[in-house]
């Protein structure tokens, strides 16, 4: 009896059932497709130079954009966003080299990020490098 049983066992084929593999794989694909979100973000690029603040860092010739709340000042003259872009375009910052590309960006405490972003975008679009000006600690 025991002999017969062992003989039967020897002949039994040990196949792995792979019939449902494709179903499992397609289910996984559907999961990935449903769970994936394709993110596309729109950005402006700005290379912000880092460095210590020195009195020599700011020269009279360096163009300055100052944001005072909703107001924009370019070299201490009030301008609107369109005018700022026109003034920056005149400077041909994309063709300039080194420190001539630098535009100082200064802002007062009540300036919202939206205005700051617009100024950053205008400077970057014209090929300028933004130097952030910190307010003096009093």
């Amino acid at each position: 009896m025991r002999q017969k049983y062992s003989k039967e066992k020897k002949h039994r084929a040990g196949e792995i059932p792979t019939g449902s593999f494709s179903d499992i794989a397609f289910l996984l694909i559907i999961y990935f497709l449903v769970a994936t979100t394709l993110l596309k973000v729109n950005t402006i690029s700005a290379d912000l130079p880092s460095g210590q603040k020195t009195p020599q860092a700011r020269t009279d010739k360096t163009p300055t954009v100052k944001l005072n709340g909703p107001q924009i000042l370019f070299n201490d003259k009030p301008v609107d966003l369109g005018e700022l872009e026109a003034r920056l375009a005149v400077l041909e910052l994309a063709k300039a080299e080194g420190s001539k590309k630098v535009i100082m960006l200064e802002s007062t405490s009540n300036t919202p990020y939206e205005n700051y972003f617009h100024a950053l975008a205008a400077i970057s679009a014209n090929g300028g490098v933004v130097a952030l000006v910190e307010e003096d600690e009093k």
Binding site: T18, F21, S22, A25, F26, L28, I29, F32, L33, T36, T37, L39, K40, V41, N42, T43, I44, S45, A46, D47, L48, P49, S50, S107, T108, S109, N110, T111, P112, Y113, E114, Y116, F117, H118, L120, A121, A122, S124, A125, L132, E134
Partner: protein, 141 residues
């Protein structure tokens, strides 16, 4: 003639599905290799500023900094206390970079936040050596 037509009717057409599993697993491997797990803060409560100068970002970013409408700062989805934490975190993430292409830092901030909150973070990104990629939206036409 009619016999032949009958024979044709009986012919069974089987679709070869033996390689379907292999194709499916290849597709899974493709998805796994190509997809990137998002490190951004999910459901950020912030309204992005609108500008016509924004372009679609095609570069890979090394770090993601977000500030929500409550002024809470997140670095790669984790809440941090202040701008100094952002500076150290971004510095650490940029430590092994070898080119400018690897220094892009994604920056999201609510449009109405005041300067006191966002400017120290921008300074921190600059100090850490990151190239700012400030997120905005295109105006709706």
């Amino acid at each position: 003639m009619s016999r032949k037509a009958q024979r044709n009717k009986r012919r069974k057409v089987s679709v070869p599905i033996a390689s379907m599993g292999d194709i499916a697993f290849l597709l899974i491997i493709f998805f796994l290799v190509c997809s990137e797990v998002s490190k951004e803060k999910q459901n950020l409560k912030a309204k992005m500023p609108v500008s016509e100068h924004v372009d679609e970002l095609e570069k890979t970013v090394a770090a993601r900094v977000s500030i929500d409408q409550d002024g809470l700062i997140y670095l790669d989805g984790h809440l941090v206390e202040n701008a100094k934490d952002v500076e150290w975190g971004v510095k650490a993430l940029l430590a092994n970079t070898v080119s400018d292409e690897q220094r892009h830092v994604l920056f999201k901030c609510d449009a109405q936040l005041p300067k006191e909150i966002f400017e120290p973070v921008l300074q921190a990104v600059a100090e850490a050596g990151g190239i700012l990629q400030a997120v905005g939206t295109l105006p709706e036409n």
